[in-house]
């Protein structure tokens, strides 16, 4: 069966899986964010333990031109640590909520990583030479007795084993009272925004002691609180435009040229709802968990609990495309509310050409939708299907009574195996899927 994603007939195949196989998953190992850099050569993951692991793609070998380069560990570091705010009696988790790469400007790589309260700019640089032949110290670093030095020499740079160092260059702290859910780097490559439940701040990458508040939806009386900010993103090309989504299923587009405080939106995107179909769950499942602009900048995609919607920025009154991710869960909302799964925040992503979109589901299933052919596919990230270059078999959830062979019934789905974070290589059909504590990498095999 043909796959989805490029228009051509191709199949998704297993490439790699990273992480432990143990049944007992340590909380700290749960992956909380996945992000390719602009070239796709680097893939960063953040976890609940505050650690960042960066993988680098190996150069393609001449022997096997059809097999793409593998991703291997490039650098790993502790980005955030657990903190306790004694003043507010607040425990601050070290979990990395988001990682965003900066476009590369020199030999070093830069990324922003954030937990609930603090954003950090990390510099990842390579060192492959070291100086040898110092005058004042030995090769092992001990200081030489000055009286023993009888001649002078010029130190020489000698090659050494590659060392990748990560160092925090900026720490952007104390600007958020509530929990940060998004960071997004502006197309000007100088500023970025950070969003928490009620406010959005604009920062300059060089300045850590000051940030501008550009959106504030905190009501004067907290009893009147009806919605919170769930995600925010800068427009990919227009540095004055950004969007933010809400827990009520609406998206606001703001223009920073209009006013210093963008409380008044320039555009308001909301799909009209049939009032007769409204239920207790309506607002909860309409809450948008992720918003992403297309690479073209013409569209944006939103993910709510049951569907993914594509919006044309020129049309505010309804989305241009709606894709059902797991509609069969609509008749399970009661139990999903009781076990809190209804509050799971799924992310979504575009492929490089904006022709396909991907999002996760339960039972380690993830879904891809081809916007041109309107075909969709459900695949599974599982160790059972992890032989090198093994083709992934499409999966199907059976909703009715008669379950066909190879189908899985809704009641057998494992709701603890959720795929919340996925990423698509910016140029190629290579995807990274985070399944709890394991990272799967899949790529296409052109037929």
């Amino acid at each position: 069966m043909a796959g989805v994603g490029g228009g051509n007939d191709f199949q998704w195949c297993f490439s790699q899986v990273k992480g432990a196989i143990d049944e007992d998953v340590a909380e700290a190992d749960i992956i909380s964010t996945v992000e390719f850099n602009y070239s796709g050569d680097l893939l960063a993951t953040g976890d609940k333990g505050g650690r960042v692991v960066i993988f680098q793609r190996e150069q393609e070998s001449k022997n096997r031109p059809l097999s793409r380069g593998e991703y291997n560990v490039y650098s790993t570091f502790q980005s955030h640590e657990p903190e306790f705010d004694y003043l507010k009696s607040l425990e601050i988790e070290e979990k990395i909520n988001k990682i965003r790469w900066l476009p590369q400007q020199n030999a070093a790589h830069f990324l922003l990583s954030t937990n609930d309260k603090t954003i950090k700019l990390w510099k990842i640089s390579e060192r492959d030479k070291r100086a040898e032949g110092y005058n004042l110290k030995d090769e092992d670093g001990r200081l030489r007795d000055p009286f023993r030095i009888t001649s002078l020499r010029v130190p020489v740079l000698m090659p050494m084993d590659l060392m990748v160092e990560a160092s925090p260059r900026r720490i952007f702290a104390n600007a958020h009272t509530y929990h940060i859910n998004s960071i997004s780097i502006n197309s000007d490559h100088e500023t970025y925004l950070s969003a928490d439940d009620l406010r959005i701040n604009l920062w300059h990458l060089e300045i850590t002691d000051r940030s501008f508040n550009i959106v504030d939806i905190k009501p004067a009386n907290m009893e009147e609180l009806t919605e919170v900010i769930t995600a925010a993103e800068c427009h990919p090309h227009q540095c004055n435009v950004f969007v933010y989504s809400s827990s009520k299923g609406t998206i606001r587009l703001c223009d920073m040229r209009a006013a210093a405080l963008c409380d008044r939106h320039s555009k308001f995107f909301e799909e009209p709802e049939d009032p007769s179909s409204r239920s207790f769950f309506s607002e909860i499942i309409s809450s948008i968990s992720d918003v992403k602009f297309s690479h073209s900048g013409r569209y944006m995609m939103t993910r709510d609990y049951l569907s993914v919607k594509v919006w044309d920025l020129n049309m505010e009154n309804r989305p241009v495309e709606t894709y059902q991710v797991h509609e069969y869960l609509r008749s399970k909302l009661c139990s999903l509310y009781e076990n809190d799964c209804i509050f799971d925040k799924f992310e979504c992503c575009w492929n490089g050409s904006d022709s396909a979109i991907m999002t996760g589901s339960y039972n380690n299933f993830f879904r891809m939708f081809d916007r041109n052919t309107r075909r969709d596919i459900t695949l599974e990230a599982s160790r059972e299907n992890s032989k090198p270059r093994a083709m992934l078999k499409p999966r199907k959830v059976c909703t009715g009574g008669k379950r066909k062979k190879d189908e899985i019934s809704v009641d057998s789905l494992d709701f603890n195996k959720k795929i919340l974070h996925t990423a698509w290589h910016p140029k190629e059909n290579v995807i990274a899927v985070a399944a709890t504590n394991n990272l799967y990498i899949f790529q296409d095999k052109i037929n």
Binding site: K18, G19, A20, A28, D29, I31, T45, D47, G49, G50, R51, V53, V73, T76, Q78, E81, P82, F84, Y86, K88, S89, L90, E91, I92, E93, E94, D116, Y178, H179, D197, L198, M222, E223, E224, L225, T226, E227, V228, S247, K248, S277, S279, F280, F281, S282, E283, I284, S287, R330, S331, K332, L333, C334, Y337, E338, N437, L439
Partner: protein, 117 residues
Amino acid sequence: MANEIEGNREIEEATTEELQEMEDRVVSPEKAEEAKLKARYPHLGNKPGGSDLLRKRLQKGQKYFDSGDYNMAKAKMKNKQLPTAAAEKTDITGDHIPTPQDLPQRKPSLVASKLAG
């Protein structure tokens, strides 16, 4: 006689409402799920997206001491002895006034990520 007729009319109306509800359940699985939830939790309010839910979300991470806990703790203290400091995190709230020594110190992971293994 008139009462009887009125009584009959009421019964008819009730039946129409019930029919509408049944229709809703058949037509909308979401409404059926809502009915299930309300049956299990009759005290559930009608405004799910309202301030209660959101405020709970905003207060995530606030596990310990606040003025409400303080007052509760003060009241309980009169009757109860202080529990040992090894009490679980969840027990600290409301039972006694926590001090920095009581709070379990959360150390960062010393183990490297298994993804890098």
